[in-house]
């Protein structure tokens, strides 16, 4: 699916911050060096795949393995930089475990940005953004993406709606009604808004509906948990509008 030659298909795949260009060198430290050097026991000459969200995916050969660092020489680009469909997932924080699952799935399903929004019924106050980012990086490494979704620090629903970008559709699952998502949703640039486990309050729902970009949709006849709704909605949008 990603066009790799068979010899690369089981090679480790890592997200790095450094630029990736032909003939360039990358030096890893910390956890990544430990993972490649001690856990995966990579030796000079072994291949690794790297991506950084900008330059596509590159095959690189290990050149030096030290106690706390590992160096690689870039060989060739193996994947172009992905063009993710311009879809945001806007979700209320959920309990640890469920929000982690949501972040992982959002990344696998190709979301461009994860925006956290706090609402009246949000039960979780603190969100560990670093942990969520780490989950998304790991998901990107495993699922062949060449980019990692942005993650935005939590904002209130009021603030989100007040600052909502005029060109972006705000698709939200509304139990009080809306056409089926597969038929009614809007193309990119779009966002899918999922409320907390307890749902939106009537006044919040009214405020969302009053937003000019709002597109109320139904996710079907069954009640879905917030994390299920997020994954189902993103999957349906990608299948019908995205890629």
């Amino acid at each position: 699916m990603n066009g790799d030659a068979p010899s690369l298909s089981t090679t480790p795949r890592l997200y790095v911050a450094e630029p990736l260009t032909a003939g360039g060198m990358v030096t890893l430290a910390g956890g990544q060096a430990h993972y490649l050097g001690s856990v995966m026991r990579r030796q000079p000459g072994d291949m690794v795949r790297l991506f950084n969200g900008r330059d596509g995916e590159w095959a690189a050969a290990v050149t030096d393995v030290a106690k706390r660092s590992l160096s690689l020489q870039l060989d060739r680009q193996t994947l172009p930089q992905e063009v993710a469909a311009d879809l945001w997932l806007v979700a209320a924080p959920l309990k640890k475990g469920r929000i982690d699952w949501l972040a992982e799935k959002a990344c696998e399903l190709g979301v461009a940005r994860l925006v956290l929004v706090t609402t009246q019924r949000t039960v979780v106050d603190k969100v560990n953004l670093e942990r969520l980012q780490a989950h998304m990086i790991e998901a990107a490494e495993q699922c062949g993406r060449t980019g990692v979704p942005d993650i935005a620090a939590p904002v209130s629903l009021d603030r989100l709606l007040r600052d909502w970008p005029a060109e972006r559709a705000l698709i939200f699952a509304d139990e009080t009604g809306g056409a089926p998502l597969a038929a009614a949703s809007a193309p990119a640039p779009a966002a899918i808004l999922i409320g907390p486990e307890g749902g939106f309050t009537p006044s919040e729902r009214a405020a969302i509906r009053a937003c000019p970009q709002a597109v109320p949709v139904s996710l079907g006849p069954r009640i879905l948990r917030a994390d299920t709704a997020a994954v189902a909605a993103v999957a349906v949008w990608q299948a019908t509008q995205g890629r």
Copy 2:
């Protein structure tokens, strides 16, 4: 969404085995009696909602609370028995945690039956069917279903294909090619087949494709973990073919 009067919307909702008919009595014991009596502290007169997979959903009033049992009198039917779209999810067992998520999500998304299939790359030997059934019952109770998916004990892929029902489409996500699921999939009666984390072997893929009912589809350009693929595929099928 389920037509409840507001006063019922926060009442406990339980799956029971007993028949549910007007004027009937239901006596709960064990965990359910403890949950309603001690945890939720229901008293005589309090309302509870019951369903059994056959008779729809019924409002029932608590009549008697004892140490180890709790009795209810059925009042009226509040939901008709659902007609779930005839969709099976056929999945290889995954590690504990992920297979539990999958069972929960499959139920929320309206699957009629969960079939477990073992393949060459399946890493999990034992599956606790009771635990998975319990997850699905809990999901059905929380998401407003009036039925719980069947769960079938694991069978080998060989056996599954050999005994495959002639009238049921076998939609399977194939990385080697297939039309997009939203466009190509088949209507009910259908099944969605998801392989283990390591995927199908080439010979397994050939055997699946040789099945007359097989419908190979693509789930998009990204690699999906098995649990993500299952949820995404079921959601897309329900949005485009089901309900």
